[in-house]
Amino acid sequence: MLDAIKFYQTGSNTVGNRLLNPSMRAVQASSDRPNTLISGHRACQGCGEALGARYAIDAAMRATGGQLMIANATGCLEVFSTPYPESAWRLPWIHSLFGNAAAVGAGLAVAARVRAKKAGNANVPRVIAQGGDGGTTDIGFGPLSGMFERNDDVLYICYDNQAYMNTGVQRSSATPPAARTATTQLVGAEPGNDWGKGKNVPLIAMAHGIPYVATASVADLKDLEYKVEKAMSFHGARYIQILVPCPLGWGCASGSTVTVARLAMESGFYPIFEAEYGKITSVRKIRQKQPVLNFLKLQRRYAHLTGKKADPKVLARIQAMCDDNIKSFDLLGDEIPETVPVAVQALERSHQI
């Protein structure tokens, strides 16, 4: 469906809903959208995670006819949405721990199935487990992998803002190299986050052979909605990782969340693709290729790469990573990669040797 929509507006990369017929419009464009994550919560201005969650969960609500439950990991999303005695969630929602959302989700799915079976009800509520990158790629990784391996009927959504924002911007295994965090300070010979570390969880998810894996971005909300709806058309373990810029943690203007996210896509910094049963099925192509510098210079976490004292070699290394992504995911060509692309960490690590 999305391939059919290929047009740009002058001066903006936004796809205007008003130009689409109603059936193609975004869930959020509808006046009767579920508003599952309702206004009044405590997210920061320009919070990419709040934006991503609102679109993702509303799309899932539409896909499931409102038969949806959420297990939420500890993190910003949980903290800003449910300060006792208030809750911004208008669907069944549970927060248990930081590292166990995938397992709690698996338990919810069991309960939903068993209750529906006992009641003779064919309509089984569906389950989403969600968390930030820390709760997903680090502390919750074991339960996540276990959920994948068992093919539990859970869609796991990772809102990837590339660091532990809730605790004050510390490094996670999703933090990109050279980025400043509170635990990878801009000091020493190699300022910012280490090179040759971290992990590519979407590729790891694919290696589990689960039915559906996708990456998405708040810069392309229709694509995000489409992927969530697609994910809900599958049963079994599914994984969507959404790039959600954090203005506070990244040091960018709160009005630039979508712009920064778009530049991450258009520079090849964050490849957007989907995969079924371990094979890539579509890649979101770059529309207007951007040098990674344009992405970096909007963020103070990369201030050391853009000022007068910037080391051009580091910038070149990040550009090389983006180029490698462009090549291995064929982000500029017309093809879909036949083999699973190599995680960009491989380039970094071979670079180190």
Partner: protein, 417 residues
Amino acid sequence: MLKQIEGSLGIAEAVALCRPGAICAYPISPQTHIVENLGKMVKTGQLQDCEFLNVESEFSAMSVSIGASAGGVRAYTATASQGLLFMTEGIYNAAGLGLPIVMTVASRAIGAPINIWNDHSDSLSQRDSGWLQLFCESNQDALDTHIMAFKIAEEVGLPVMVCMDGFVLTHAFERLDLPSQEQVDQFLPAYEPREFLDPKEPISMGAMVGPEAFTELRILQQRKMLKAIPIIERVTKEYREITGHHSGGLLDCYNCENADVKLIIMGSTVGTAKDAVDELKAQGINAGVISLKAFRPFPYDEIRAAIGDTKNVVIVERSFSYGARGILHPEVSRAMRGKDTNIYTAVCGLGGRAILGTTIKGIVKHCLDGKFCDELTWFDVDSKVINSYLKDAEGITLPEGPLPESVLLDTLQKVRA
């Protein structure tokens, strides 16, 4: 129905009779046989409307149980020792969320040094987790307590840990009387969760609570614990009436009338101690056994009543608190506040060292001979093992026999001098 089966199979049968909806398992000795049996029952269809999940860690076993319980089905899991510690974060969480999960702890020591055998240091490490902790003296008691545990958990609105001695009970092959499905259905009605995640009536569970209400929520949690005491008593009474089994309860007294010394014991040692005090009685020595079933909530009033005017009480503990003393002692002391009861702790049976009838008789005689000089005394100690280290390291040797705490302190003074 009478069966001659392994304790673990008995527990599995009992859990199955309670019609759980989700059972989660991660292997750790000595609880494995319980979940193996349950997994088989689900797979053969003997246990219907239930799913069995093999998870990748105890942390996930507890987390899946949390999800399943929040989703509105009876959830059960089992663990021990290191596994219990690995799921600790989830254990506290389940209590805070008020989820009526039932979990078996096949009590086992905690490493290092690694040790797979029985003592109570794993269960007691979760003392302050907010779970009810019920100890079992026999496999029949354990079987019955599991069935009662579901009802207690659901009425109180808190999770229940059923603690049974690893190996000693789980692996013992004994005569067990299983209640019928009709009896259990009569006792434990179909599960109606008080609140659960339901798209028809959405709720948010596990919100963040700040200083403005946290204390109050803790008070309400404590209130539930206090409420559990009469609930345990009533549920036990109901169960006994239906099955005729004398199991469960807050505590149980044996030979306590006119006893000159009373032993407070948790777990399978109670059976051994009953035989031992019978033998002592034949010799004219009157010792009673108080089998403490409910450790959390702690039945202060009932312990006070059970001890009564007896002057000497010895708590036989299979665990202790490093840098402090026995774990039960402060509780018993609180129960006896204002009375001049002599309360001692005998630590023995750690890491699977068998507590023999002779151990129990030795403790009773030690007490009646007035030999307890400290609050804490170690029994059944092999002084050769200690001395083989201390003699070389510090030039100190410890005497043979029961080891009072003051002897250890004296050796430290020698070092200081």
